[in-house]
């Protein structure tokens, strides 16, 4: 892993097309501005990991379709 030190207002350029800028530093919280081409998807890691986990759970779910008929939507 590459570790770089940056001050508020400074940026990092990745692959000529992605720019990360430190916008604000407040205690343990850092605001980062991200400029990237539209086809690059950007996610908060914890949300992305939660979606991955949920997909795995969904893929191993067992369901009996016949049960659907006996369940009434509230």
């Amino acid at each position: 892993m590459l570790v770089l030190s940056r001050k508020k207002g400074e940026s990092i350029i990745i692959d000529d097309q992605i720019k990360l800028t430190v916008i604000a530093v407040e205690g343990e919280s850092i605001k980062i501005g991200i400029e990237a081409p539209k086809h690059i998807s950007i996610h908060r890691e914890e949300v992305y990991l939660a979606i991955q986990e949920e997909n795995k759970s969904a893929s191993t779910s067992h369901f009996n379709v016949a049960e659907l008929k006996s369940i009434k939507k509230p």
């Binding site: 998807s41 908060r44 979606i51 991955q52 949920e54 997909n55 969904a58 893929s59 779910s61």
Partner: protein, 153 residues
């Protein structure tokens, strides 16, 4: 073409029915080709998404807008581009259903809907970072009166 499935045995599908997930489904990134078919029930909002590459892999899904009438999302530009969406009528929005114990406790993932361009059979799971929709929205429980709740994700 014939494919082998665990749930349905050997089934015959048309090559034109194969749906591509060019980036796969996060967490199961290796599988990119699926077929979608409705659960055999009239006007059912439920679908199966069967992998044609792995016979055991079959998702159970919901036509999100048919079930959650007030569900609304805005497709971002990367998704519109990736799926070649030309008109809103090109797409359907599906949610993966997770069943851990009984079907009564089934949940739908409203935070990571699958967007399918039915005209091009291209699909992608999008992650709605900023929305309050739940990853585990109960489908059949009374307290699931609305999906707009504080996100756990």
């Amino acid at each position: 073409m014939k494919i082998e499935t665990e749930r349905f045995g050997e089934i015959e599908i048309k090559e034109t029915d194969v749906i591509s997930f060019p980036k796969g489904i996060p967490g199961l990134d290796d599988y990119k080709k699926f077929v979608l078919f409705p659960v055999d029930e009239q006007d059912s909002p439920y679908f199966f998404l069967q992998s044609i590459e792995k016979k055991e892999l079959c998702f159970f899904l919901l036509d999100t807008l048919a079930y959650f009438k007030d569900y609304d999302i805005e497709l971002d530009e990367p998704t519109v581009q990736a799926l070649n969406v030309e008109s809103p009528s090109d797409i359907i929005v599906l949610s993966l259903i997770t069943v851990t114990t009984s079907l009564q406790e089934a949940t739908a993932n409203l935070k990571g809907p699958i967007i399918l361009n039915v005209k091009r059979n291209l699909a992608k799971q999008v992650v709605l970072d900023k929305s309050d929709y739940l990853i585990k929205q109960p489908l059949f429980q009374a307290e699931g009166e609305t999906q707009q709740k504080e996100s756990r994700g």
